[in-house]
Symmetry: C2
C-alpha cells in the first residue's frame, strides 16, 4: 500500500529534519531537494526511503554535520575536493559547481571527491550543468554488491554513470544508470512483492545464476550489466571498474571492497588501504560552445532526438524512448499528482517525525497496490 | 587456415602500402602502427583485415590523402578538430596529442573531431596518454548496426568506449569495449566457422531474438549491451547513444543512422542533417597529478589491481581478469610468436601487394585451425 503526498510538503518535512540535524536553512533545503529529486523522478530507492539511513549514519558518527567540503588541490580545469565526511547530498553540488565554474573559465571542469558519503541520484548533479548550457557528468562508487565476471565476491558497487546533455526545443538527454544488470532497489521491490528475479540479475554464493531475490543476503552478488559471460558481462564489469577508478582511486577515496557500506550496522571495511577515505565521486562539466556554437549543436540534438523517437518500433504500442524520458514523465506526473510512498517508508518517516518533533504531512490520498 | 607473420614485416608492408597511397614515410608508419596494433592485441576484425577497405574508401574519394586535420575552435581545455575527410588512423593521434598538450597545460584536454574516418582500435588512442602519466579516453561513432531498445531499426554503431589508466608496478588498466552485446567482428568469425550466435547478440528483421549469424544481412540488427529488456538493454542503448552524442553531435559529425558506412559499396546516407560531416570521435586526457600526487595514485592502482586479481573465483581454473589483460597477453604472445592472419585476409593483402608492387612478407609458418 502506498500513500500520495504533495512534493512541497515532503520537501518542507525533509528540510526541517536536516535542520534538526544541525544544517542551516539553505543547506537543509538543498539536501532535501537532492534527496526528493529521486522520488520525483521515480527512483524510489534513492529518495526519502533513505532519509532514516542518513540519520543513522550521522548518529554513528559517519556523517559530520559540521564538515565543510574543501578544495585541496586544483589546476585551471581540475580539482580535488575533500568532503571531510560531510553529507554527500551537499558535497556533490559543491563539487559540481566548481566543475561548472572551471568549464566557464577554461572550457571544461573535472572534480574528483574523496571522503564523502552517499550523494543521492547521480542524475541530479549531472543535470545541474544543463542550466549553463553545459554537458554534465556525475559518477560515484558505492558499497560493494556486484561480482566481477568469473568471481563470487562482491567487489564493486552498482556504480552509476549519469550524463546530461542539453537540447533545443526537445527536452535534454539524461542518462542515469547503474552499471549492474539491475540496481539493488529493483531487487527490494521484488522482495516486497514476493516475486522471483529475472534471469541475469543475480548469482548465488557459488556463482550460479539464480532467480532468488534474497540471494544477495545469502552470500550471492548482483551481476554486472551484460549478465552472462557469453553476453559480455565483462563489459559491465569494466564500466563498474571505470567508475570505481575515477571516483574512488583517482581522488584517494575508498575503492573496490573497501568502499564504506551505506548501512550503519555494517562495520567499516577492515584492511582498507591507507589514505583511501570514504565514498568517492567524479564530476565533469563541458561547455557546449567550447566546441561549437550552441545553437547549431542544439539543432542537431533536436534532430537526433526526433529521429530516434521515430525509429521503427518492434511493437507499435511501445515506441522507442530517449534516455531520460521515463524519469521526466515520472516527474511531470508526480509534480501533478503527488509522490507515492510505500507504507513502510511512511512508517519510518513518521518515527523521524516523532523523534525530531517535525510534523509529518497529511497524505493527499491513499493509493492501493504494490 | 591461418598463417603466422612477423609483426615487423607486416608493419613494413602496411607502411609501404600507405606510402603508395601518397603518405610521407612518418605518416604512413604511424597509420600502419595504429592499424597493426589491433592485430597485435588480438582484435583481428580491426587490423590488417581492414586495409583493403581503407584503400577502397580512398579510391571512392571518401578518404583524402592530401587532407590535414585542423583545429577550428579551441579553449584552454577543449578543441574542435576538422578531419577534412582524412584517414582516421592519422586524424585520431593528431587530436589525442592536442588533448594531451592541453592536459599538460591546464590539467585536462578534450577534443571532439568531425569529418573523419574509421580510426582503428579506440584503445590505441586512449593508451597514448599512458606515456605522459595521464588517463586517456577515446570514443568514436560508427556505421549503424545496433537497434535501440524496442526498435527494429539499425540506428547506432557498435560505438566503442576506451579508457586507459596508468598503474605503478602493475600494467595499466585498459578498457576497450564496443557498447553492443557483441561487436560485428565476432559475428564474422561465427559466419566463417558456420556456427550459431549465442542468445542475446542479434535480433532478426522483426526484432525477435535469433541465433542466425547472418541475420544482420537479412534486415536484423545487433543488440545493445544488456541484450534483453529485462536485463537492461536500455543501458547498452544509453551508452551507445552517449558515444554518438559526444563523438557525433558535439563536433558536428554524422550521427545516428547518418554515420557514413565503412564499406565503399554502400551509398552515403540520404537526408543527412546539414553540417553533420563524416565520422566523429571524442578524446580526453586527464593528468593524474592534476588531482593528486602520481605516486600515491599509482600505489592505490596497484592495490586495486592486485585485490581484483585475487577476488575469489567461481572456478579456480579461471581467475578474475583485469580490464586489458586479454589484449596485453595477446600482444605479448604475438610479438613473440607472430601475428596469425586468416587465409582470406592474406589473399586480399596479396592482391594489394600485386597492385601496388609492394612485396608481401613470407609467413613464419602455417597455423592450422580456426
Amino acid at each position: 500500500m502506498e500513500e500520495l503526498f504533495a512534493p512541497e510538503s515532503l520537501l518542507a518535512f525533509t528540510r526541517a529534519i536536516f535542520q534538526r540535524m544541525g544544517y542551516a536553512y539553505d543547506a537543509a533545503l538543498l539536501a532535501a531537494e537532492v534527496l526528493l529529486k529521486a522520488d520525483l523522478r521515480g527512483i524510489d530507492s534513492h529518495g526519502l526511503a533513505r532519509l532514516p539511513g542518513y540519520i543513522r549514519l550521522w548518529e554513528a558518527g559517519r556523517i559530520r554535520v559540521d564538515a565543510h567540503p574543501q578544495v585541496v588541490h586544483e589546476t585551471p580545469s581540475t580539482a580535488l575536493v575533500d568532503g571531510h565526511q560531510g553529507l554527500g547530498l551537499l558535497v556533490a553540488p559543491f563539487a559540481m559547481r566548481i566543475a561548472m565554474r572551471k568549464a566557464q573559465e577554461v572550457g571544461s571542469g573535472w572534480v574528483a571527491v574523496k571522503n564523502s558519503n552517499h550523494f543521492g541520484i547521480a542524475g541530479y548533479h549531472a543535470m545541474m550543468a544543463l542550466e549553463a548550457e553545459m554537458i554534465g557528468i556525475a559518477l560515484t562508487n558505492a558499497s560493494p554488491l556486484v561480482a566481477p565476471t568469473f568471481s563470487v565476491e562482491r567487489m564493486l558497487g552498482t556504480n552509476p554513470i549519469a550524463v546530461a546533455i542539453p537540447a533545443g526545443d526537445e527536452p535534454p538527454v539524461v542518462i542515469d544508470m547503474a552499471t549492474a544488470a539491475a540496481a539493488n532497489g529493483k531487487l527490494e521491490i521484488l522482495q516486497r512483492k514476493g516475486l522471483e528475479a529475472p534471469e541475469g540479475w543475480i548469482q548465488d554464493a557459488m556463482g550460479r545464476s539464480t532467480s532468488n531475490p534474497f540471494a544477495l543476503q545469502e552470500g550471492g552478488a548482483l551481476l554486472p550489466l551484460g549478465s552472462r559471460v557469453e553476453t559480455s558481462s565483462h563489459k559491465g564489469y569494466c564500466l563498474a571498474a571505470l567508475v570505481d577508478l575515477l571516483s574512488g582511486v583517482l581522488p584517494g577515496a575508498g575503492f573496490g571492497p573497501w568502499v564504506p557500506p551505506f548501512v550503519h550496522f555494517l562495520p567499516l571495511p577492515q584492511d582498507a588501504p591507507e589514505g583511501a577515505m570514504g565514498i568517492g565521486h567524479f564530476f565533469g562539466a563541458l561547455r557546449v560552445d567550447a566546441f561549437r556554437p550552441t545553437d547549431a549543436f542544439k539543432q542537431h540534438m533536436d534532430r537526433w532526438i526526433r529521429r530516434f523517437r521515430a525509429a521503427r518500433p518492434i511493437d507499435s504500442q511501445q515506441p522507442v524512448k530517449i534516455p531520460g524520458d521515463p524519469e521526466r514523465e515520472a516527474e511531470m506526473q508526480r509534480q501533478r499528482e503527488g509522490i507515492p510512498l510505500h507504507h513502510r517508508v511512511v512508517k519510518a518517516l513518521r518515527e523521524l517525525s516523532d523523534r525530531f518533533a517535525v510534523p509529518f504531512p497529511e497524505p493527499l490520498s491513499l493509493k492501493h497496490g504494490e
